[in-house]
Subunit: 227 residues, 2 copies
């Protein structure tokens, strides 16, 4: 469902070039649960942005559900992204002038879901992440962990088949982290594909496969018996 | 050095009021190293903002270095803040159009440090957090953990006597987290006061005292033997 062939990503900064990804080849099959780990700056978010169709590689090929997306135009890329992928960003990326509820409804506006239905769906999604009593708060009226959970609810609302979560529990206490991991496990059990970036071994332990990145290259890729 | 008397903080949202802090009384003496823990939404950042003179309580008194700051005007509050306190924000709060170096130099511009000196100080500060090769990157050209480290360097550059760190290692891998904790321990050993919010018991274990917050109230406050 995700196939990367020798993906290279350079950031050209005029005088210097940052080689963020130095040849990543990777296959993720349907219904896998993968954890991506590695030091700060090793290229995890850059890789997730390419997998999530938010960025294109400098060279190499990327096939999502068999379709080569490495060189298609932005409009086609956006269509695939909105239909197939739910992305939880490392820095949440919520709209600051919209409430939690409005932020979570956004993907369903794009999907053409009628208003009464998406209001209901959004309320349910926020309830699932423990934020039923925060639906009318704007992002600056929410705690760090609450913002993270709004970003999670928003990513899951269209029931995407591929979930990409960049540090989804980074701002959460242990109890709330486990609730979010349980939610991701349910989504995985329903047949979907989950890739999560995490720094914490305890969180990675929920995955069925652990891939480690160092300086833009995969250094290990092992199966894991989930806890 | 920090004295809070029955601090109450309400957020008035028109139809409802969020009682974020429900009567916090707390004393922190000079050269303490305190960890503040608690579930997502329990009031940690709200409390830190009051301690850091970024917000004022709804009621109650706050004395910093013996001076009552609960009701002074914004200008006096800002002066105390810039002189005494280094704050590492949970969401970093970097200026997006400025490089890492420029962001770190900012507090020294306010402190009137001459340009050649502050360029040198900023370079050293970034080196200490492992970002010597990222000085010219803007925030959107940095990874999550790199942004967090720029925020850390900026907070420490004026050698403040009170360091308030809201989840300073939340976006960092284990090895980099330990480097940052070592830096905070050095600052503590030099005679300064450190208060850190964290969700991770491993990080809290570096502190000499652990305070736990639930629903806007302190539920426990115990000494700790640091690792
Ligand atoms: N737009 C950009 N321009 C230049 N360099 C960039 C850009 N974006 C990222 N980088 C660099 O590429 C490298 C990889 O960044 P990335 O965000 O993928 O790291 P990461 O593994 O997600 O790190 P973290 O765990 O800290 O979030 C970093 O060293 C970063 O400085
Ligand atoms: N400006 C605001 N208006 C309304 N409610 C607010 C505002 N700021 C914070 N809150 C609420 O106050 C409570 C405490 O928020 P705070 O940010 O202090 O939590 P926290 O302990 O730092 O959480 P986290 O661990 O998730 O960062 C939360 O329930 C939050 O929704
Ligand atoms: Mg990242
Ligand atoms: Mg917080």
């Amino acid at each position: 469902v995700i196939e990367l062939e020798n993906i290279i990503k350079d950031f050209n900064m005029g005088t210097i070039t940052v080689n963020a990804l130095r040849g990543i080849s990777l296959t993720v099959n349907k219904n896998e649960f993968v954890a991506l780990m590695g030091p700060s700056g090793s290229g995890k978010s850059t890789l997730m942005n390419i997998i999530g169709c938010l960025d294109t590689p400098t060279s190499g090929n990327y096939f999502i559900n068999g379709q080569n997306v490495s060189n298609i135009d932005d409009e086609k890329l956006a269509a695939i992204r909105n239909k197939e992928i739910g992305f939880i960003f490392q820095s949440f990326n919520l709209l600051s002038r919209q409430t939690a509820l409005e932020n979570v409804m956004l993907p369903q506006i794009y999907a053409g879901v009628p208003k009464t239905q998406r209001l209901l769906n959004a309320k349910n999604a926020l309830e699932k992440v423990g934020l039923a009593d925060r639906v009318d708060h704007k992002p600056n009226e929410l705690s760090g962990g609450q913002k993270q959970r709004v970003a999670t609810a928003r990513a899951l609302i269209n029931n995407p088949s591929i979930i990409l979560a960049d540090e989804p529990t980074g701002a959460l206490d242990t109890k709330t982290s486990l609730e979010i991991m349980k939610l991701l496990e349910e989504i995985h059990d329903a047949g979907n594909t989950v890739v999560i970036v995490t720094h914490e071994e305890d969180i990675a332990a929920h995955a069925h496969r652990i891939i480690r990145l160092v300086d833009g290259q995969i250094v290990s890729d092992k199966p894991n018996t989930p806890i």
